[in-house]
């Protein structure tokens, strides 16, 4: 039995639309795989020790909250990028995803710097992109469908065309409603507009993180879980979208 240390960044500020369900899901699945885990909440002012972290999670927040977070996160930017380069599993949803880019411009034209880990930007518009969404992605070599719910005013565009999206949009809007891209994927980092929350209904994405975490500890996870309920919920949304 191994112990996994999961970290949630700014749970009081960045936690929308049931985001915490993603961590609940990882914790339960780790338990079912026979492992133990803990969740540490990091709030503004707390220090962050990347040596002892197995996964980093940050959820969505409003503009006011994103600004507070950015002030704190700016000092941790370089060590975060180093950890990402070394393969740290990171999941950033909605507002947290937007923060990874270079800047966010609100619909009133106010510009807010991002962390600049990746070369993309987000343009806020009044009209929100809302609804169920279906995307296709490849995880551990297998093509998978991923479902969720999106609700964002921001349109995200890649400046660096070499950036890889998390998946391609089959139904719904994704990054901007135009280029069929959804989210970002870099090594073991995923940024995405999908909440729902994302992981419970997409057990293959949850396991992508769990396998990556285990691999970094030097072992493989062999057990197979009963995902009949998860798959049922997944298919239910898919059927709804495909009519």
């Amino acid at each position: 039995m191994a112990h996994f240390h999961l970290v949630q960044l700014y749970p009081n500020l960045m936690n929308l639309y049931g985001d915490r369900g993603n961590l609940l899901c990882l914790q339960k699945r780790l338990e079912w795989y026979g492992h133990d885990s803990s969740i540490e909440n990091i709030n503004p002012g707390d220090s962050l020790d990347f040596e002892h972290i197995d996964l980093l999670f940050m959820g969505g927040g409003s503009e006011r909250e994103q600004e507070l977070v950015l002030q704190d996160l700016a000092s941790k930017r370089d060590s975060l990028m180093k950890a990402v380069e070394e393969g740290l599993p990171v999941l950033c949803i909605c507002g947290a995803y937007q923060l990874l880019g270079e800047y966010y411009r609100s619909h009133e034209g106010k510009e807010m710097q991002g962390l600049g880990l990746f070369s993309f930007f987000t343009q806020g518009l009044k009209e929100r992109l809302t609804g169920n969404i279906l995307i296709h992605t490849t995880l551990n070599g297998v093509e998978e469908s991923v479902v969720g719910f999106e609700n964002h005013g921001g349109r995200t565009y890649f400046i660096d065309k070499r950036l890889q999206p998390f998946g391609s949009v089959i139904k719904g809007f994704g990054n901007n409603g135009e280029d069929k891209k959804e989210g970002i994927r870099y090594k073991n980092l995923l940024g995405s507009y999908l909440h729902g929350p994302l992981l419970p209904k997409n057990p293959q994405v949850a396991d992508f993180f769990i396998k990556a975490m285990a691999e970094r500890k030097g072992f493989r996870i062999e057990r197979i879980l009963d995902d009949s309920l998860e798959n049922y919920a997944h298919e239910q949304v898919k059927r709804k979208l495909m009519g």
């Binding site: 609940l24 899901c25 339960k28 609804g131 609700n151 709804k240």
Partner: protein, 464 residues
């Protein structure tokens, strides 16, 4: 005939009300809407017929129940009133309520008008009517408001009531209404709860953070009564709960509510802390309106929770409770009430995602479903139904409820059948808005059948 257009609008409205009743529609906004097209000043004109006061009741949760309780109290006191009791709480629904009670000349007088009004529509209501009292039950964010729309609504309400001849009745335990006196300069009355044995000192992960209404700093809570209602203080500007004018104390829920309001003992067949707040609000308002205590007590004792806000059926000897659950606070409250209900039980949850339910069902992950100790509350099985049966099933699975006792049945009649089967003593039927009326109909039919069956059994019973 003085005002032909007004009469025409009233008659059109009355005909439409009659027709929609014939068609079995509950919704009552259409007649008002059409009448307003015919005679735009109709609400101004009819609301001028109120002899005593117009009372507006708004807030996120509890406004329908509170205004229905108050209607019962005022009728007990012998007053005549206009009241949009079916919860159509936009201007058109309120107009319908006036038309229904009016004579065709629009001249009939009433003592009171009780107007339940959607929060965002308060400023519009104040343009057309002159309420003397405005009650705000509470402000909760729901899944549709995560981007500060509520802050905006609160500001709009404050601007609308400012400089008017209005008194406000507010919840002292809700930090979001603490600055109304300062912002509006109006006379503000506050009601709230004293310590109770149902208070909780724990901060739950899912509780949204509340900020100080005066300085914006994050608040600290000494205790929570219900959701974000409780005893709080601001570490920065040291503001705390406003002083109470009406205090609820000695609350008992076993599970029916007993409490005192400033020494007056009340009993109610309603359940849950949210209903204790509704009673406290209605009783405080009744005091402000000068209703005699005896009448208030009688009305509260006889007020039955209505459709979906906890309705009880008896089927096959089991107690079956139907509850509308539409946000994390409501789900938390319902799950918490299971703790006070001894005996083995089934749980049923029909979750739809139509527009009226909210398309986004992620709020189920914001409720503290994992806090329920499933073995102690003796839940035998959980039946999941509705368009998002999969999501609700996963929610319970990841909250730690054993997979093999989670059943999925998308068809509502068969799902409810499953939930009222077996040797359990009670079933709790939870559903989102668009599943409510179907579930209610199914349960009523089952209740009738079960009653008929019992009668038959009795008839065949040999004399002893």
């Amino acid at each position: 005939m003085k005002n032909l257009r007004l009469t025409l609008a009233i008659i059109a409205g009355k005909v439409l009300i009659y027709m929609s009743r014939l068609l079995g529609h509950q919704g009552t906004s259409l007649p008002g809407q059409i009448a307003r097209k015919i005679y735009p000043r109709i609400l101004r004109t009819l609301s001028a017929n109120i002899r005593r006061e117009i009372v507006a009741i708004t807030g996120t949760n509890g406004k329908t129940t509170t205004s229905n309780m108050l209607a019962e109290i005022l009728q007990q006191q012998g007053y005549s009133l206009v009241h949009n009791r079916l919860g159509a709480n936009m201007l058109s629904g309120i107009t319908t309520a006036f038309i229904e009670k009016s004579d065709i000349y629009g001249s009939r007088k009433f003592d009171y008008a009780l107007l339940e009004i959607d929060e965002a529509t308060v400023p519009l209501l104040l343009r057309e009517t002159r309420p003397r009292l405005v009650l705000i039950t509470n402000f909760f964010r729901d899944q549709l408001d995560r981007y500060g729309e509520m802050d905006h609504t609160i500001k709009l309400i404050q601007e609308a009531v400012k400089d008017q001849e209005i008194e406000m009745l507010l919840n002292a335990d809700d930090p979001l209404t603490a600055n109304f006196q300062a912002e509006t300069g109006l006379k503000c009355w506050y009601y709230g709860f004293d310590d109770s044995s149902y208070d909780n000192c724990r901060v739950m992960d899912s509780r949204e953070v509340r900020y100080c209404a005066f300085c914006g700093h994050q608040l600290e809570y000494e205790k929570y009564h219900y959701a974000q209602l409780g005893q709080y203080s601001c570490p920065q500007c040291h503001s705390r709960n406003p002083e109470r004018d009406f205090t609820g104390h000695e609350l008992e829920m076993s599970p029916d509510i007993e409490l005192k309001v400033d020494g007056m003992a009340l009993k109610s067949p309603c359940q849950g802390f949210h209903n204790a707040y509704n009673i406290l609000a209605a009783v405080s308002l009744a005091r402000l309106l000068g209703v005699e205590d005896e009448n208030t007590k009688k009305a509260i004792a006889s007020f039955k929770p209505q459709a979906g806000r906890m309705e009880v059926f008896f089927i096959n000897g089991k107690r079956v409770v139907l509850v509308l659950v539409k946000n994390p606070a409501a789900l938390n409250q319902t799950l918490a009430s299971l703790i006070y209900d001894p005996g083995r039980k089934n749980l049923f949850f029909a979750l739809n995602d139509n527009a009226a339910d909210g398309r986004d069902i992620s709020w189920i992950w914001d409720a503290d479903v994992e806090l329920l100790e499933y073995e102690n509350v003796m839940i035998e099985q959980i039946v999941c139904s509705g368009q998002r049966s999969g999501d609700i099933a996963l929610r319970f699975k990841y909250a730690g409820f054993p997979r093999e006792r989670i059943k999925i049945e998308t068809e509502l009649p068969r799902a409810i059948e499953l939930a009222v089967q077996g040797s359990v003593e009670s079933s709790n039927i939870l559903c989102s808005y668009t599943a409510l009326f179907t579930c209610q109909r199914i349960l009523m039919e089952m209740g009738k059948r079960s009653e008929a069956g019992e009668e038959k059994e009795k008839a065949y019973q040999p004399q002893s």
